[in-house]
């Protein structure tokens, strides 16, 4: 990696100030950023480490029953502490990467990066979560704006993610054989006012909601309900691990499996 300045703010305010300077970059768990730096594919002048901010860590339940995850909370903590409240979310977190990744990687880092193959964006979009930042609340539907692109402004730190807890939910991931990221991942959540289906890994546009499946499942929450649906391959990712047609097919298979797993 190239040389850079490392800032370790003690408070959120200090972090915001540090990120206000040019060429500053927030460092969460570093599971994407550190390998990128090692490859010399990025050269920020300053890294602002969010890992020391206790106020960004932990899982709690708010008055509405939503599961609130601090932005710097590692996946392993979510897997352990959300299990009793939102099992599908905990299971998703507990199956990201390997133990080293889960103990370093954070929810804020994952959502801010918005890797098209990451798991957390599917949970956030599939749950209709609210992404709270130092400035504002952003609905998940407005947050994800395409591959590696989000509504976050420069230096805007994710402080908390609030997940309304559904009646039933499940996440199904089909792993890319090398990276074990999601070749396709589908998060299905059934709420009182309807079903949400969020798909990661598949689309050139990043995580997306499959509206037709949501409508069908809202009417009939069963795998059979989507049997007649199909997705266009047009916007799907094609690479050495799978064609657009294969990914489109997997979305449907995994949606059905997620519905079944949600029970």
């Amino acid at each position: 990696m190239y040389a850079f300045e490392l800032v370790r703010p003690a408070t959120l305010d200090e972090a915001v100030t540090a990120l206000g300077t040019e060429e500053a970059q927030a460092l969460g768990g570093g599971q994407t950023l550190i390998p990128t730096l090692k490859q010399r594919l990025a050269a920020p002048a300053k890294l602002v480490c969010l890992g020391g901010l206790a106020e960004l860590k932990g899982v709690c339940i708010d008055d509405d029953g939503a599961v609130c995850v601090g932005g710097a909370t590692p996946h392993a903590v979510v897997a352990a502490e959300a299990a009793a409240h939102y099992p599908a979310l905990a299971a998703l977190a507990g199956n990201i990467g390997d133990p080293a990744v889960r103990n370093r990687g954070t929810i804020g880092g994952s959502l801010a990066n918005n890797d098209p193959s990451a798991c957390y964006p599917a949970a956030a979009l599939g749950s209709g979560a609210t992404i709270r930042t130092v400035n504002r609340d952003i609905a998940a539907d407005d947050f994800f704006q395409g591959m590696f692109t989000t509504a976050l402004e420069d230096g805007e730190i994710i402080t908390e993610v609030r997940f309304p807890v559904p009646e039933r939910a499940a996440y199904q991931k089909f792993e890319q054989p090398a990276s074990r990221f999601a070749l396709v991942g589908v998060f299905v959540a059934k709420y009182a006012d309807g079903v949400r289906v969020a798909v990661t890994g598949a689309s050139e546009g990043g995580v997306f909601r499959w509206a037709e499946a949501e409508a069908a499942l809202s009417a009939d929450f069963s795998a059979a309900a989507i049997a007649g649906l199909s997705l266009e391959a047009d916007m799907m990712i094609g690479d050495l691990h799978g064609s657009p047609e294969y990914r489109a097919h997997l979305v449907k298979v995994l949606t059905g499996r997620a519905v079944t797993a949600a029970g």
Binding site: A178, L183, H241, G242, L250, V253
Partner: protein, 788 residues
């Protein structure tokens, strides 16, 4: 009762204590006083004219000691190729130059252009980025068949084409084979790809050059499977250093799988630079660099045809293979698709007529050379796949078709120029059917079906030629080296032994198994024996470790040397006991006069050899040290049968290996646990090839699967527990231990078993249009095949 020491015992691997506790000493652990660090500037394009290299900016950067370009290497030789193949018309192969640093053109992504030496690695890396390279990009040659088309761009401008050679074997049989196909009752044809693999040894390559100007001695520390071979190739052909002034040390090496046999440009570059700078120069390969510089494996495109008579007897085999050489000829590259592939096309079967045609092709890709199995997996895969296909076509059980054609009498001379000394293919197949519980397959099939999964069973045989190799034979075939091995056994005064072997251990466990052999011969504890390898200064001439040769060839040299030791020790014992040497027996570490209770201990004799107060000095010299060379008079022929059971998810195409069984005949076994481990590792690599590993270049010659984000290595969760058996033993008839070699079998025998199983699963599910799927059988490929 299993033995607890010596030959046949599963002695714990003594080397594991240091490997597992972080006390190994790998090349990167070595840091010499005053050491500088090297970073290579490499081509980012697959093919281009190198118009200039400007090092001005780089040379002035902090810590930079010197920037070397090809101009600095004038007078230095190119990297030599160790095997010359003669084509089917009697002409030598086309052999391009292979400069240490690219000259005139760059020919693959990763081709080294310049070498920056600086005080630290980071400084060298920074400066390497500041080297300005002027490359005029040229159209890359990537597809082998396109490379041979008229007007295709040439990888090497001074060659007549991209064809390295067009090899026919046995050329004299060509017409007879063609005739057999014209009159055959049935012909089965299969087109297939044996895909390119990236070796991925756990330890990346490292090289440290050192030079002592006071003595004019050069030393290279390197991650090599054969330090003596590197000394010869680099000293004699590249740098012009006589062997007595060049020492090559290959300390603990973390896996090689063939990729560390070859002499690489970086080794010569750092040795050269060290002499120029009078400072040690260290280079440690990054994993990313490994992907574009370590010689890769396989990469064959093959059409195989099998002719059968009405009863299913094999009548003839005809193959046409395009073999990718990559951009340059790596050290042993030309021999892999020819003599290590064509000679195995008979497999375990009596096929009277065989003709193998191989066209070796240059492309703008990383050079290809030996990788675990090296030619033999390619032969086995095509043969065992076409037999399965033929069985289906003629409606015969694939196991029965194999049995019907088995070679059953030995020695057996194949029509492809080798003579199998021993074997019992029915025995290994019978054992396989038992340990794989083939009888229980139908029940497991029903159980899979109940869960909505498809299930298939794949069975195949394999044979390999190991114990490489008889020098007189390989010399005729174009090898530019002898392939013997040597060993020196030094007995110390107090009875302990040091065995210095030319074989090299990089995971195989020689330090344990070699010691077991010598302990058994003398009848002393294994811990009295030390095995030393990997340093040309401390070991006799050696050809190293590859081709499953270490115990068969290196072990045989050690046995010969130990027998010389015992013969001399017996004379000393006879003198001590005033008896005739012929009457002296050695058992359990004691010399006894036959038929008497007179005896002396091993230690009494060794002490006498070094404290020769009471010693027949007029008849024999003091001391107890012997060297022996062993040159095999044939290959060894391990063989066996493998079975794989898979489940296929019909919705996603995902294949899971549910069961895997291997019944191998390795001849005599020294350490059953180590043999199990070798087979386990080989099967994991074979499953990796069959299901996971994809080496894909894009249209520009960039490696798309250039990291572990895209190159899928097998992990523990990808393989089942194996049923492994090696109780069928037909000992090799021509080496003193009766051993055959076990290092590559798993990687040779397993890919066809996996593919046979997947095709079987799909066929059983009614998808009769699927007769083959090219490796790796990734979920997307299997799914695509299922779509018809």
């Amino acid at each position: 009762m299993p033995k607890d020491h010596g030959i046949g015992a599963s002695s714990k691997r003594r080397e594991d204590v240091r490997f597992l506790t972080g006390r190994g000493r790998y090349t990167d652990d070595i840091n010499l006083q005053g050491q500088a660090h090297a970073c290579f500037v490499r081509s980012q394009v697959a093919h281009g004219r190198l118009n200039g290299v400007n090092t001005d900016a780089a040379a002035g950067m902090p810590g930079v000691i010197r920037v070397f370009t090809a101009a600095d290497f004038e007078g230095v030789g190119g990297l030599p190729c160790g095997w010359q193949v003669t084509d089917r018309h009697g002409a030598p192969m086309q052999e391009p130059g292979h400069p240490v640093l690219a000259t005139g053109k760059v020919r693959h992504v990763g081709d080294p252009i310049a070498l920056v030496v600086a005080e630290t690695y980071d400084q060298a890396r920074d400066a390497a980025e500041a080297v300005v390279v002027d490359i005029e990009e040229l159209e890359p040659v990537l597809d082998m068949k396109a490379a041979l088309a008229d007007g295709a761009p040439k990888v090497h401008d001074d060659l007549t084409s991209n064809l390295c050679y067009d090899w026919g074997f046995v050329e004299e049989n060509r017409e007879a084979v063609n005739k057999a196909f014209e009159t055959a009752h049935h012909v089965t044809t299969l087109d297939l790809v044996n895909q390119r693999l990236v070796p991925n040894a756990m330890e990346p390559r490292v090289a440290i050059g050192d030079y002592n100007f006071a003595t004019d001695d050069s030393t290279l520390y390197t991650t090599s499977q054969n330090p003596h071979v590197i000394r010869l190739l680099m000293g004699a052909f590249v740098l012009g250093i006589p062997e007595h002034k060049l020492r090559v040390v290959a300390p603990d090496v973390g896996g090689g799988f063939g990729s560390k046999i070859f002499h690489y440009a970086e080794e010569a570059a750092v040795t050269f630079a060290a002499k120029q700078l009078r400072r040690p120069v260290k280079w440690t390969c990054t994993r990313s660099e490994s992907f574009v510089t370590d010689a890769q494996g396989r990469d064959h495109v093959t059409k195989i045809e099998l002719a059968l008579d009405a009863e299913g007897h094999f009548q003839a085999i005809r193959t046409e293979t395009y073999a990718n050489m990559g951009a340059y000829l790596s050290t042993f590259a030309p021999s892999i698709p020819t003599w290590l592939h064509g000679t195995l096309m008979a497999g375990n079967y009596k096929t009277p007529l065989i003709y193998v045609n191989v066209k070796a092709v240059f492309t703008n890709t990383v050079p290809v050379d030996a990788y675990r199995g090296a030619g033999r997996p390619e032969a086995t895969f095509q043969l065992e796949r076409v037999i399965d296909k033929a069985a289906r076509e003629i409606g015969m059980d694939p196991v029965e078709l194999r049995r019907k054609n088995f070679i059953t009498e030995f020695p057996y001379a194949t029509p492809v120029a080798v003579e199998y000394d021993t074997g019992d293919y029915n025995a290994t197949l019978d054992k396989l059917l038992e340990i794989a519980d083939v009888a229980g397959f139908e029940a497991r099939l029903a159980e899979s079906k109940a869960r909505g999964k498809l299930r298939g069973l794949g069975i195949n045989c394999y044979i390999e030629a190991c114990g490489i190799a008889p020098s007189h034979l390989v010399g005729q075939l174009g090898a530019r080296a002898g392939l013997y091995e040597s060993a020196t056994v030094r007995v110390n005064a107090t009875g302990g032994l040091v065995v210095m072997t030319g074989s090299h251990s990089h995971g195989q466990g020689h330090e344990t198994s070699f010691a077991q052999v010598v302990a058994d011969m003398i009848g002393i504890p294994e811990n009295m024996i030390e095995i030393v390898h990997g340093d040309t200064a401390n070991t006799p001439m050696g050809m190293g470790t590859y081709g499953s040769r270490s115990l068969a060839v290196g072990g045989s040299a050690m046995v010969k040397a130990t027998n010389k030791i015992i013969a001399k020790a017996r004379k000393i014992a006879a003198h001590l006991m005033e008896a005739s040497p012929e009457d002296i027996e050695l058992k359990d570490g004691r010399f006894t006069v036959a038929g008497t209770d007179k005896s002396v201990a091993w230690g009494d004799v060794t002490l006498a050899a070094y404290v020769p107060h009471n010693y027949p000095l007029d008849e024999i010299e003091p001391g107890l040290e012997e060297t022996a060379f062993y040159d095999p008079n044939n290959f060894t022929y391990p063989a066996g049968a493998y079975a794989c059971e898979v489940e296929v998810d019909p919705e996603t195409g995902k294949v899971t290996v549910e069961r895997f069984a291997a019944a191998d005949d390795f001849g005599n076994i020294v350490n059953p646990m180590i043999v199990d481990g070798q087979v386990h590792g080989g099967i994991a690599q074979g499953i990796g090839q069959a299901l996971l590993e994809t080496t894909t270049y894009d249209e520009y010659g960039q490696l798309l699967s250039g990291s572990y984000m895209d190159y899928a290595m097998p992990r523990a969760s990808d393989v089942p527990f194996y049923a492994v058996d090696h109780s069928c033993q037909t000992p090799c008839t021509h080496n003193p231990l009766g051993v055959k070699g076990c290092g590559e079998a798993g990687a040779i025998g397993s890919p066809p078993a996996v593919v046979n199983a997947v095709v079987d699963a799909l066929q059983r599910a009614g998808m009769t249009h699927i007769t083959h799927i090219d490796m790796p059988l990734t979920p997307s490929r299997v799914w695509a095949a299922m779509q018809g």
